[in-house]
Symmetry: C2
Subunit: 351 residues, 2 copies
């Protein structure tokens, strides 16, 4: 990548639940905020996009539009949709990235389809068996990355090990955590806890070069015991969705409490601001989307319901990731210390 040249970011204009409104609005506000600091490529139904741009009276932006006649919806089966809808905004946009016409790709669309497209079109980083998507969680010690967040429900120990390596590189390079700590999510602290797969992963992580601190339990997550927490996508997905539902549960409980009289109502009204401030980083939008890790490129995935602000943050995050060569570092880290899967007992590093 020519360092003189502006980064080119593809935005899947048809991805999210509020597409293309939020996608276009978010892109324009990212361009404003960076003073046209990158080149935006909006991919999707051109006529529709142009009509929106006209509404915004969007001139003077470093922006282009590439037509794609089809849209992959949230209901579409990821792999089937990619085969059938060759001219979808997702496929067209991802191909632009692969062909070197853009340095990053951003979408708030069907998560499974984005991951599949990234894996199939961009290809995997050398040494990576399973690309993954991580999720950010708040904790008493700051934000940490949990991965896999739902894309790989069935994992072997090797995959968990790869997630740890990829997560570790990501939080070091992008989130600037020095010597990030890595932990394995388990049902107890002891090495011999959990399933056979998790125990194998423990031995691999112990023999590797990461800053592995051992197992953490469910109760250790919000306490912030590690910067990177590894689990299979089944556990990760359940936890992520459970965690996201906590604030609304709390709200519903307080609402019921407020029904108990005027003073209670007043009290609950007063609580809004402290609660909102305190739980701010449980808010998805703040983190700028989730990175697809382990593919040859930069793909950022957002929540289907991403707001304009969330799209803007995703674009800014994509720029940051594209500037770093995290894929090279992932490849390097996986090549450096690939522990052989031990059938039992101690792990042995491949000679």
């Amino acid at each position: 990548m020519d360092s003189e040249r502006k980064l080119r970011i593809v935005v899947d204009a048809m991805g999210g639940d509020f597409a293309p409104t939020n996608e276009i609005g978010g892109t324009l506000s990212a361009l404003q905020e960076t003073d046209n600091g990158f080149e935006a490529i909006l991919v999707g139904k051109e006529a529709e996009i142009q009509a929106h741009l006209k509404k915004h009276a969007a001139t003077g932006y470093s922006l282009s539009v590439v037509n794609a006649s089809e849209v992959i919806t949230m209901e579409d089966s990821p792999t089937a949709a990619l085969k059938q809808k060759k001219d979808s905004s997702l496929a067209v946009g991802m191909r632009l990235h692969r062909e070197g016409k853009a340095e990053a790709f951003v979408s708030a669309g069907n998560t499974g389809a984005v991951l599949s497209a990234a894996t199939l079109i961009l290809g995997r980083v050398k040494g990576v068996g399973r690309p993954t998507i991580g999720a950010f969680f708040p904790s008493e010690q700051g934000v940490f990355l949990l991965l896999d967040a739902g894309t790989n429900v069935d994992c072997r120990a090797q995959h968990l090990y790869e997630f740890a390596v990829m997560g570790s590189v990501y939080v070091k390079e992008i989130m600037k955590y020095e010597h990030p700590t890595v932990a394995l999510l388990n049902v107890g602290e002891e090495e011999k806890k959990g399933t056979e797969i998790v125990q194998q992963a423990y031995r691999m992580l112990e023999s590797g070069d990461l800053n592995f601190i051992g197992n953490v339990e469910g109760r250790d997550l919000l306490a912030g015991k590690a910067n990177v927490v590894v689990c299979d996508g089944f556990v990760g997905n359940v936890l992520l969705k459970f965690g996201e539902s906590v604030p609304s549960f709390l709200k519903s409980r307080l609402k019921r409490y407020a029904k108990g009289g005027f003073f209670r109502m007043l009290l609950v009204g007063l609580m809004r601001s402290p609660l909102r401030t305190s739980l701010k980083d449980m808010d998805y939008e703040e983190h700028g989307g989730l990175p697809v890790l382990g593919v040859n490129g930069v793909s950022i995935i957002g929540h289907g319901s991403s707001s304009q602000k969330a799209i803007k943050n995703m674009i800014l995050k994509a720029m940051e990731v594209a500037k770093n060569r995290i894929n090279e570092k992932i490849e390097e880290a996986l090549a450096q210390s690939p522990p052989v899967i031990p059938s039992s007992g101690q792990a042995v590093a491949r000679a």
Copy 2:
């Protein structure tokens, strides 16, 4: 059981972190509250127990003490401890229950050891492959039972099916939920989501006689979509511990917010009561311990840190469970509709 006769409840006096203080205090207060409505059998180091009873000046209670010279600690490996410590309060108490000298057993000790003792000493209910422990979760629709809560980290579809049957009988008979709804915890609503094991379990549940409402996701739990939610013990344990850590995370966040000035401090002070009231049923103590399901008897397990109140509630819960013949109902339900594990496609009920 003679209905004229008082129920006899064994209390493991040496089980919890604050044993025997809380165990004895909790037993006495259960006897007070029920007006000696049951016969308590305190099992443990007799001299120590008698000394405590003397302190309480405990006379007039329907209470006896059975000596057991050993104690299984929280650090002991469950199976090894049971083999080595034949005269532990846990083993002696459980044997009293098996021999018909008591109708129920209550312990706040080492969870794994209690489950092992219950399984090995009492034996499994006919048709049950894996006894289980459930946990109660709060929700917008009232408390629901999640199982397995951590005892079986690796489950086959048949086990998940059994958990559903046992949970369904429990919430119907003990919690008086009519036609309880049962759901499978998964990463999406669709039948084809999740691991192969979970998909198999889906087909079994669909072909069975339970009020199965399909898959629920992490976000549906606190919303209260089902009365019984089934998952493997790995997921259940992580979720349970994560959920238990939410209130303390919230507290720490609010504490930090309060440091921002006097008004903020005041506000957070005012929030204490509404928050406590709103989150009351996230409190372990209120639910009276967790039942071991699938063993020939009644075993209630409490948190290691159980207070006197928690022990009292566990005893009251044990009486309630002992009065119901839930094991017969579990056996019946498992015998009635045992779906054959389908290798793929539809499930077929055994003829």
